[in-house]
């Protein structure tokens, strides 16, 4: 693979974006670069990343915390809350609850903040074709 890499990439049709039939003409790349650098696109990107990235970090941390507690905090997890139901169970069920809530929250955020921006940009690019 390394030797191939050294050869570099001639922009042939076969190396095109996702299907060989579509030629990669510079003009088309220009359009994408211009769209990418527009203020609207920066807003769209921010609307997605500023929501999805911290939330991903949060739920992965919360999940790993739960796994680590199960491993290394036995006496805490074993505390009974109600009858035979202990802290470990309550936290496990809380994982279900937070998953449902995050899914619902993201869907709401995306419909309000991401979709309108994405559709406006897409429509503009299609109009400029």
């Amino acid at each position: 693979m390394d030797s191939e890499e050294a050869v570099g990439t001639p922009p042939t049709a076969a190396e095109g974006p996702d299907e060989p039939a579509r030629p990669t003409i510079p003009a088309q790349h220009d359009r994408f670069v211009r769209a990418q650098q527009s203020e609207e696109f920066a807003e769209l990107r921010r609307a997605h990343r500023s929501f999805a990235f911290p939330l991903t970090l949060a739920f992965v941390t919360w999940y790993l915390l739960y796994v680590l507690l199960s491993n290394y905090a036995g006496s805490f997890m074993d505390i009974r809350v109600l009858g035979h139901v202990n802290v470990a169970f309550v936290l496990g069920l809380a994982q279900f609850l937070t998953t449902f809530l995050i899914a619902w929250w993201y869907a709401r955020h995306a419909a309000a903040k991401i979709d309108p921006k994405a559709e406006a940009l897409k429509a503009r690019m299609e109009a400029a074709e």
Binding site: M1, E4, E5, T9, A13, A14, E15, G16, P17, D18, E19, P20, A21, Q28, H29, F32, V33, A35, Q36, Q37, F41, L44, R45, A52, T56, F59, Y63, L64, Y66, V67, L68, S70, N71, Y72, G74, M77, D78, G83, H84, V85, N86, A88, F89, G92, Q95, F96, T99, F100, I102, A103, W104, Y106, A107, A110, D115, A118, L121, K122, M125, E126
Partner: protein
């Protein structure tokens, strides 16, 4: 020695509680009838779908004609495999709380797919995961790598399903059933190849939908019956399970399976990591997002899937603990040491016990549902791997884009037949392993080899072809190698090769090492590339993936 993850049970065909029961003959006839009805209906759907399958978009992506809800059901059908139904119920029934981690990890994992992967993938790809990478990376080496890892992950997953099928057959037919077990695995393989080659994605999607509805209905029925028995008091159910387990309250606390020593605790962490990061790298799940018309519909389908799968995994608690309380660990391990048959045994017990009509009927219903589950999942896996072979490896690497659509689809169909044959062979020879643990290995490979490259491609502008190759091959080779040298394969009586010992890697799941390695290699490979990332190609991918402009 660490505990091999619920993994690897020894196969006991000698002890068969069911064969001894008086109703053995009845439930067999009933299961065969119910299962035949399912196969007949789904084959009819397949033929109907096949007639409507004309071009590559129909064959690979069901014409992108499914609604978010329909695809949500189909995604759930693809995801709730034998591992979920038989494996998790078995794991909980034997190890109590520790088995519950599977349910949680398998569900939380969907958030990665929802927040980061489903929509951009739908916007920028056509038929396979590699389509997305090929936008900005050099197409041929990257498609070769992605195609290879797709096929490896799918085969691990297929193996798990076939093992589940084998466990069921042994349960139903008893020690005399060795020949029948082979025939049934051959039958499962043949039907799945028919679904894929005749019905394509459209047929396979409908099979998943039918199966998802049946599985949810069957699980709901058993759950309601179990909970009614305990007067809808979860605490009573847990208490009775703890009592019957012989372990007391420890059965409901973390650590029964993974708490022995520091190595087994690391193994638990490793498993947890693989579960949560694996889903968004599973090829047969990723290609499902191409069956809907828009990214928004892809999002809707993930949300439905989270609801359906979450409800299902909540019910596995009743299934698993119910099996311990009502069937008891002795009868469960006597039937299958890794617990794969706990759910059908519970169904029989709750219907009135072995020999009763109610028991025979419920056992038949649940077994038929489990077969339907296995059949649908293997069809999805076969479609994903044959699509990747035909579209990535054949059409774009071997033939370098100079093929017709017709030839590509024919190649996919031939690949489906070959993959079907491989999985039949695997199913016949491999039957010692536990199905949930095997699937967890597939998750580890997917999280190590596929997820880093998908995320870097979509979100990191300096990612290069070399980064992708290092990450995919590095993640793939490290995870598979570590599995080979793990306690799952050798070194203890429960391993795949119990007589040998080359188990120098102590963890049953490689995720803890191979997943960070996959991410690290993708980063290092990109920084050490001689060619810089092409900002123009990244601009194109980023704009397409976020706006849906030019989506297929």
């Amino acid at each position: 020695m660490t505990n091999p993850p619920i993994a690897t049970g020894t196969w006991h065909t000698a002890a068969q509680p069911l064969a001894a029961g008086g109703g053995a003959g009845d439930h067999r006839t009933l299961i065969i009838s119910l299962f035949s009805v399912f196969v007949a209906i789904t084959l009819a759907i397949t033929v109907w779908a096949g007639r409507q399958t004309k071009d590559a978009t129909d064959f690979y992506a069901g014409g992108r004609s499914f609604s978010g809800f329909q695809n949500g059901l189909a995604v759930s059908g693809d995801y709730m495999s034998a591992a979920s139904f038989l494996g998790i119920a078995g794991a909980i029934s034997l190890y109590g709380y520790d088995g519950f981690l599977y349910s949680i990890g398998f569900l939380v994992a969907w958030l990665v797919a929802l927040l980061l992967v489903a929509e951009p993938l739908r916007n920028s790809g056509r038929f396979t995961m590699a389509d997305v990478l090929a936008h900005r990376l050099r197409q041929r080496p990257v498609r070769t790598a992605a195609g290879t890892s797709t096929i490896v992950v799918s085969i691990f997953y297929l193996l798990a399903q076939m093992v589940g099928a084998g466990a069921l057959v042994a349960l139903l037919l008893g020690a005399s059933g060795e020949a029948s077990r082979r025939w049934i695995i051959v039958l499962v393989g043949l039907v799945m190849v028919l679904y894929v080659t005749v019905g394509g994605m459209k047929g396979t999607t409908w099979v998943q939908i039918v199966k998802a509805v049946l599985l949810i209905a069957g699980t709901l029925l058993i759950t309601v019956l179990v909970l009614t028995k305990f007067h809808w008091n979860i605490s009573t159910l847990l208490g009775r399970a703890a009592e019957a387990s012989g372990k007391g309250q420890a059965f409901l606390e973390p650590g029964l399976q993974y708490g022995k020593d520091s190595t087994s605790k690391l193994n638990f962490l490793s498993l947890g990591l693989a579960l949560v990061l694996g889903t968004a790298g599973l090829p047969h799940i990723l290609i499902r997002f191409y069956t809907v018309p828009t990214a928004r519909a892809a999002r809707t389908s993930v949300n439905w899937a989270i609801g359906i799968i979450g409800a299902f995994y909540l019910m596995t608690i009743a299934l698993g603990f119910g099996a311990t309380a009502l069937v008891g660990p002795k009868a469960i391990t006597a039937s299958n040491e890794s617990g794969n048959t706990a759910a059908p045994l519970l169904a029989q017990e709750i219907g009135g016990g072995a020999g009763s009509t109610g028991g025979a009927i419920l056992l038949a219903v649940i077994s038929a549902v489990a077969f339907a589950t296995i059949l649908a999942v293997v069809a999805g896996l076969t479609l994903a791997s044959s699509a990747s072979f035909a579209h990535d490896l054949w059409a774009n690497v071997i033939r370098k884009g100079r093929t017709s659509e017709k030839e590509e689809i024919l190649t996919a169909k031939i690949a489906a037949v070959v993959i079907g044959a491989v999985s039949i062979l695997l199913g016949i020879f491999a039957h010692r392993l536990n199905t949930a643990a095997l699937v967890a290995l597939a998750f580890a490979v997917a999280a190590s080899a596929n997820l880093p490259t998908i995320l870097y491609s979509l979100f990191w502008k300096r990612f290069t072809t070399r980064g992708a190759l290092w990450s995919i091959y590095g993640g793939l080779v490290s995870s598979v190698t570590l599995v080979i040298f793990s306690p799952v394969v050798s070194g203890n009586p429960k391993a795949l090769f119990p007589g040998m010992s080359f188990d120098w890697f102590p963890l049953g799941n490689p995720g803890l090492v191979s997943i960070p390695l996959g991410f690290l290699l993708g980063w290092a490979g990109s920084l050490l590339s001689r060619e810089a990332a092409d900002p123009q190609k990244y601009a194109e991918l980023e704009v397409r993936s976020l706006t849906g402009y030019g989506a297929h």
